[in-house]
């Protein structure tokens, strides 16, 4: 039976980037459909993700899979014959899932505060943001990738944020490199992979998008 794989996505989403990278790592042919989240969500999106009405949505042979970390696991399980993304060992898998959960609980909300808030709140957010990155850098250690020698699941979960780092730094007026140089090296290393380079947007474009959001939400 011919596989039909559709990805409903929105280009700045660091979550959508995960699913795109995973599909590309597995060399899966898929149809990319760009959603206009700001003005007009498509009927298909609302039908396929009625609970959250969010992207990314992966549609495999007509059946929707929602939530990016769940999608990456699904992709790894369905297309298991090439490029394994998650470790085989149950303990290492549990560690990878733990850190993915940590990233999802902490990084997005804190990152947003670095450009969406001012004054004391913004200063706290910047400190917390660097703290989160240092924790992740510590987890990376001296390994080339989070999973070890091979690019995998946890690299995929985090790398989308790398395209937002320049914008966070610009709008928050702070610098990541001084305390997180190893992590920045990891980012550059990941960008050498075609799956990553073709899935992450130009950081300049992300900056423009943040300006658009600030206008939309009336944030100075």
């Amino acid at each position: 039976m011919a596989e039909e794989v559709i990805l409903l996505n929105f280009w700045p989403s660091m979550f959508g980037m995960r699913t795109m990278i995973a599909l590309k790592e597995k060399e899966v042919k898929y149809e990319h459909r760009e959603e206009d989240l700001i003005n007009n969500k498509s009927a298909l999106l609302l039908e396929m993700n009625p609970i959250y009405k969010k992207i990314p949505v992966l549609i495999h042979n007509g059946k929707p899979i929602c939530e990016s970390v769940i999608q990456v696991q699904y992709i790894d399980e369905i297309w298991s014959d090439k490029n394994p993304l998650l470790p085989k060992d149950p303990y290492q898998r549990a560690q990878a899932l733990f850190w993915a959960d940590f990233i999802d609980k902490k990084l997005y909300v804190c990152g947003r505060k670095t450009w969406a808030t001012k004054g004391e709140e913004q200063e706290e957010a910047k400190k917390e943001f660097i703290g989160i990155l240092k924790t992740l850098q510590s987890e990376l250690g001296d390994k080339p990738y989070f999973g070890g020698d091979r690019f995998g699941f946890l690299d995929i979960v985090l790398i989308g944020f790398y395209s937002w780092f320049p914008a966070y730094q610009k709008f928050g007026n702070f610098s990541i490199e001084p305390e997180c140089s190893k992590l920045m090296d990891w980012g550059k290393r990941c960008m050498e992979r075609e799956s990553v380079a073709t899935s992450l947007p130009d950081p300049e474009r992300v900056g423009g998008f943040i300006l658009q959001l600030k206008k939309l939400y009336g944030i100075e």
Binding site: I65, C66, I70, P90, R93, A94, L97, F102, T135
Partner: protein
């Protein structure tokens, strides 16, 4: 079969700890239960979960695993040849189970808890309405996942049953506190009947806390503001 050294740091009252204990029971794994004292955190807990400092923590041959749903999955994989599978066998069913387990934690539980922390009648009413709406989603999820069988996972208890079912003790306590039925036999009949089956399962029954005891603990955890 050698299971290795297994310890679980937790508390009798915690929903999240219960998830891990049900999973260990399903796999017939013997373990040492290290009960944390309310209000304090043991050295072992702080050492084993330095990032979140929270229970449960499963320690298997001195290696810690944190986050309840991750622990349940780990138990299923580390002891895959023991007992029945906890996660569904098909990737799509696994994705659906994971989605709804995350929904339980991210949306449903948050709404349930806000009933306990609500200040005033207006806030309480709004919180109750939210719980009812989200419980309705779970009713539909049950019908979709169970496919006519007794549990979310089919013939026997699995990942999503554990994720939601572990809340049943607290569900009852919040009902009593709110003086409002939150698991309605007529509004969500499938869930209502599933709840009874879940609570009576031999791997669950000994772990479900006694309502009065839990209600007393809830009053400590969520003290009511003085009138």
């Amino acid at each position: 079969m050698v299971t290795g050294d297994v310890k679980l740091i937790g508390s009798w009252a915690s929903v999240f700890v219960m998830r891990a204990r049900i999973a260990l029971n399903l796999k017939s794994i013997s373990y040492e239960f290290l009960q944390e004292t309310y209000g304090t955190k043991s050295e072992l807990l702080l050492k084993s979960n330095p990032v979140h400092k929270k229970i449960p923590v499963l320690i298997h041959d001195d290696k810690p695993v944190c986050e309840s749903n991750i622990i349940v999955q780990y138990i299923d994989e580390a002891w895959s040849s023991y007992g029945l599978s906890i996660l569904p066998s098909q990737p799509y069913d696994r994705a659906i189970a994971r989605f709804w387990a995350a929904y339980v934690d991210d949306k449903w539980f948050i709404a349930l808890r806000s009933i306990l922390t609500a200040r005033g009648e207006e806030e309480k009413k709004a919180a109750i309405a939210e719980v009812e709406e989200r419980t309705d989603h779970l009713e539909k999820a049950f019908i979709e996942c169970s496919n006519g069988k007794p549990f979310f996972n089919g013939d026997h208890i699995g990942y999503l049953d554990i994720a939601l079912g572990s809340f049943l003790g607290w569900w009852k306590v919040v009902e009593l506190d709110a003086n409002h039925i939150l698991l309605d036999e007529t509004k969500t009949p499938s869930l209502f009947q599933w709840a009874e089956r879940f609570c009576n399962d031999p791997d669950v029954k000994p772990l479900m806390p006694e309502t009065t005891k839990l209600a007393e603990f809830a009053r400590k955890l969520f003290p009511k503001p003085q009138a």
